[in-house]
């Protein structure tokens, strides 16, 4: 079955819209989920650690 131009237009106007909105909402929830804050702050600070060899 060949994919028609109209099928692609239809897909991008329906599924394309909704999955991008869902993705945006998902990312926002993940980034602002209160329990994740401590982990993110720790990750941001960890690179400033002066230790410079691999952890054993």
């Amino acid at each position: 079955m060949a994919i028609e131009h109209d099928t692609l237009v239809h897909l991008s106007k329906t599924f394309g819209l909704f999955y991008l909105i869902a993705l945006s909402v998902g990312v926002l929830i993940y980034a602002y989920w209160p329990r994740n804050k401590a982990r993110f702050d720790a990750a941001a600070r960890a690179i400033l650690n002066e230790e410079d060899r691999p952890c054993p």
């Binding site: 990312v27 804050k37 990750a43 690179i47 002066e50 410079d52 060899r53 691999p54």
Partner: protein
Amino acid sequence: MVSELTTGQRQMALTFLAMLALLGLFVAAFGRADPIGGHGWLVLVFSLLSLFAVLTNYYDPEPAADRSAAYYDAPVKAGIIIAMIWAVIGMFVGAWVAWLLVNPDLTFVEEAWASFGRLRPVHTTAVIFGFGGNALIATSFYVVQRTSRTRLAGHLSPLFVLWGYNLFCLLAVTGYLWGINQSKEYAEPEWYADLWLVIVWVAYFVLYLRTLARRKEPHIYVANWYYLAFILVVAVLHIVNGLALPLSWAQAKSYSLFAGVQDAMTQWWYGHNAVAFFLTAGFLGMMYYYLPKRAERPIFSYRLSIISFWGITFFYMWAGSHHLHYTALPHWVQTLGMTFSVMLLIPSWASAGNALLTLNGAWHKVRDDATLRFMFIAAVFYGLSTFEGSFMAIRSVNALSHYTDWTVGHVHAGALGWVAMITFGAIYASVPWLWKRKTMWSPALVEVHFWLALAGTLIYVFAMWNSGIIQGLMWRTYNESGTLAYSFLESVEAMHPYYIARAVGGSFFLLGALVACYNIWMTIRAPQPAGALQDDHPQERTDPVLEAGR
């Protein structure tokens, strides 16, 4: 580099290089009637030289039994030096073609290889893939080890990635000069070089994932997300856009599997995402590590960095069609590309703002430290050129800007102002850390380089803005009788002063890169300071806990 390998690994390297040399010999023999034969010889010479390098160090003492107690920095050091060599080659050719546009007689020789059409891809490939790519590979190896607190997962594969990638760059650049070019912008190399790059790139991806899997940190730091997006998406883009059928196994020429407007769309889906994932995501990874590290402040908002990451990866994918406004491409696809390009301003400015706000409270360091100032200017230019890009993607603006020097100016605002500046910042930060020096050999020369690079970029970009807008306006000015007011040649003549300014700006930038090479060379050559620093960072340390791993 060989001294870090065990005898078994040295033997594996020799076997592999011998096989590669044999492959080169086969290509040279079967392709002797075609330009591909020359590349067979190149592969043969390249692998024999590498073979020789391994052999001369074959009997070096083996490394300590437990190598995992230290980071694997040999490929990082080599990558940085190679990146600077490519920078000089690429910027020299860039300055040369800029002067060629000022005076077409500056080819010096009456040979095909010295014509603008062949030199121009040498410039773009050498700066984007040679300089940018090697800098990305080197810094990604550096960053993934530090942020995961583990050694790279493998000893041969990082060397294979680095040297294999440079063999690809050599095949690309020499091919253009011989007239081997598949005429897809930023994807010029022919099928066999493309296939080789696929192998190298998959090895890079696997190495990166395996290193991350070994990490000792609970969370994967955001810089790695950007580097990983760069590696993964470049693989996808390269494979799809490179789909082609060669005339035969012994011929360089191939035909794309796509035709007509599909070919154009695939090419610009590739082309714009090469900008997005090679020239943006990778260098954002660099910025998210080196800028906080150098400013000694954590990133302003880690949450914002996550949001902008997903925004950039998922929006950029759809922006490529803005390169094909007013073409045979369906109108709605053009509109889609335009809309996503405008939406991209949000994650782009989130990253630029995040970088600048990280510096809030460290402005005295930006003033005193040219290395951090390189990164600061990079963030400013990133913000500027992403704004400009979103604006130029709007169809009615594109009607004026497309096919003019404005596009060239926009690309260089990004390439010189953002990509090169963040890279120089990262290199100036890493070199003393890697070679265990307190600072660069001459901080004053870093300062000189900074001002040369900034002046060069500003001269270049302003020249091209003026030139591009004049060009665009001249091409669309009508007289009373409804015909075009200017001939094309008149618009070419009007460009001449701006072409001189552009060539001067580019030459400044090249001069800055030469200063950087000298400074890096002297830093490496400088005798080890008394009480040599054992760790990467210049600070003196007294904490006994840090001794435990020795």
